[in-house]
Symmetry: C2
Amino acid sequence: MNETTRTYDVIVIGGGPVGENVAERARAAGLTTVIVERELLGGECSFWACDPSKALLRPVVARADASRIPGLDPAVAGPLDVEAVLAHRDKMSSYWKDEDQVDWLNSVSVDLIRGHGRLTGPKRVAVQTPDGDTIALTARHAVAVSTGTRAALPPIPGLDTVRPWTSREATSADKVPGRLAVVGGGVVAVEMATVWQALGSQVTMLVLDNGLLERMEPFAGELVTEGLREAGVDIRFNTTVTSLTRDGGEDGEVRMTLSDGGQLVADEILLATGRAPQTRDVGLETVGLTPGDWLTVDDTFRVTDVDGGWLYAVGDVNRRALMTHQGKYQARIAGAVIGARANQEPVDDAPWGAHVATADHAAVPQVVFTTPEVASVGLTSREAERSGRRIKVVDYDLAHVAGAHQYGEDYRGRARMLVDTDRNTVVGVTFAGPGVGELVHSATIAVTGEVPLDRLWHAVPAFPTLGEVWLRLLETYRG
Amino acid sequence: MNETTRTYDVIVIGGGPVGENVAERARAAGLTTVIVERELLGGECSFWACDPSKALLRPVVARADASRIPGLDPAVAGPLDVEAVLAHRDKMSSYWKDEDQVDWLNSVSVDLIRGHGRLTGPKRVAVQTPDGDTIALTARHAVAVSTGTRAALPPIPGLDTVRPWTSREATSADKVPGRLAVVGGGVVAVEMATVWQALGSQVTMLVLDNGLLERMEPFAGELVTEGLREAGVDIRFNTTVTSLTRDGGEDGEVRMTLSDGGQLVADEILLATGRAPQTRDVGLETVGLTPGDWLTVDDTFRVTDVDGGWLYAVGDVNRRALMTHQGKYQARIAGAVIGARANQEPVDDAPWGAHVATADHAAVPQVVFTTPEVASVGLTSREAERSGRRIKVVDYDLAHVAGAHQYGEDYRGRARMLVDTDRNTVVGVTFAGPGVGELVHSATIAVTGEVPLDRLWHAVPAFPTLGEVWLRLLETYRG
């Protein structure tokens, strides 16, 4: 067993997209930087989340869209070519190899140490390498924890016997289960139910709540519920699994007892029941924090409960916004502010300044790639109500927009815009309907830019696009 | 022959989308209003342009998109169902009947007089009805001319013998010509070449210029050229028709002599060679203007060469921006300002005010529904250069965006952002690539809202969407 010691300006624990971006920006600020990664560089998003899931979803969504277009619809009435879809997913996951990302990291002059990194005290990290060696690292300026999250599994009796799917297996499986039980009603649950039902599984969703996508506007979950049911998914609300077991060894069936007293049998079970921070084994106890906790940070990503301002937590692990793109945004800002502080440059932490993640509070976009799609940014009406601000909720039926008529027959969709009536700006938008995914950035710019409504009146939507819903929302607001 | 006389606050000549919106807004301001329309209420856009053309294009674009998705591509390898596409187009054109629009006009309490309206002097209009009657109208406050444009035909010897297609026939034809010659290289030409080639015609494009879509950024035309050629269209640049004839009566072939000395034979010929104002027979001579001219207006749509401020020209006929959505924008503003002046309310004509069409100069969006699509707003680099402003041109290869990888295999596309470096805002954006249509409104809001680049840095694009190109453009700008 060898022990070596190295010093860097910045040490980043966790090399997902967030860690990569923190490191790249810190390096760009002139700081020597290293990433410690125990699995694949590129992390969850590249290999077991965004990239493979969207590769699986894209043919499903495109087929659903095509099936609503007269003249094209008969061609897509048949099933997808499952083998081709899975092969494409494999390619989009880089066959679970990270050479390309390693090349990129080299190109930006950031070091990589493969192994399990743990804090051992202020500015100190020990890496246990796959060979059993230990590398002791010291940071001159900052340590950033970007270890993300893992699937949080509920304490169901029998769970240890069934080898459940989590988001990882659901995005990387190479066989279509005949019957798939999906536990949960959030984004992972609805996206993976969409995929596997379309690939041939009979999917049953077991949902604790009374609806899907409960954190979004209610109509979003309602439209996705309709879409999933029309695709053949069996959705059971207010239902949980109280116990389960896998019959007859490895390939046996999963037998579930449900909270309504019923039984359900499936070939696989996906637990999409939330996320927990990957902080159980990163040495938090050595710096006065509690292993397994989320890491609370200020708007410049310094962990608030650690003295000295050297410890940062960036991305999902800080619980501010569990989305790759938002984590990367945080990373750009964290890398910049680490650089500014190290170089004793001024820190611009006024709202919307260069070194503060104001958008985390005001404008987090999200796209759910289901049929129909859901896209949102900023506040929901429920959040707006809690905020105490004076808000007007403006709704419009997307089906009445000419661009929706053109998009496909029997278009169903909804749009909601929240206006802060004191400031005369848009503070939240939700679209649900086929094809709305690329529309969300218009809302993100409107909310982030705090563009006054009187000015938005001059932002003309091209005819006939779905974007014309903006005009209708503004007209509806004016009454 | 009867002659009646009526008085309204506002008379609108031309009941396309623009005239409808002028009338509706003036009526909403409390003014009695009448529309005079000699064809179908709803105009060119509803019956012979936007609506039918997009109904024809949507299956072509969706099929092209689907053909790039592994697992879905084999299903869409065959031809479109032409009969179903044309039947759908008929439906989307309301079977060339305007009852629904008449109902809508009634619902907003605007009168309709069917017939040919001509100015007969200041604030006076005479309508010749289909029955041969004449109705004399007097306007208390304003007359708005919204007669739009017609196809401008070039003076080619023999043209009168061939019954050429214009945009009207190209969008309403119910038979697929075996061979179609398309003269022109603008939006109508590329969209209709896309449609008819996909529906089974062998299309040959004869293009005066050295490229397509010459008013847009050069890469847009280049990508559309590639797409059309891959679809099988024969594109000949720097080529015009010098003479032509139709052989052997009604169903004979069109025989063209080309500027390069060659011959071309086709079953139909589409002339997409520009537009001319519909002002030859609207009585301009009675108010001191020249029949056939475009009508020059100020930013509140008053015709500048007529005294008294009672004559407005709104939409394509004023040549400011020949697009339905921009004409409707003008109509909203013109209706409001007519109302304000009639009611002796203050006119807000400062830039971006309620009564001035500032976006006509700064932020006209356009989407070309080809394969690939093109979407743009604001200045092109050529226009920026002419403007004398200090501009930085920022380019990015859309194929490098994760959302593009997900959109389809072998994605090709480009994005360009123009930054006014003195004001630190975006003044023009062009996207070209599959799926970019709905992305344009993000750019329209950024340009219209004059959102500073430092704030756009906080507008996070959702991963993995095409919208992530915004991040890449901003990163590229920062260098």
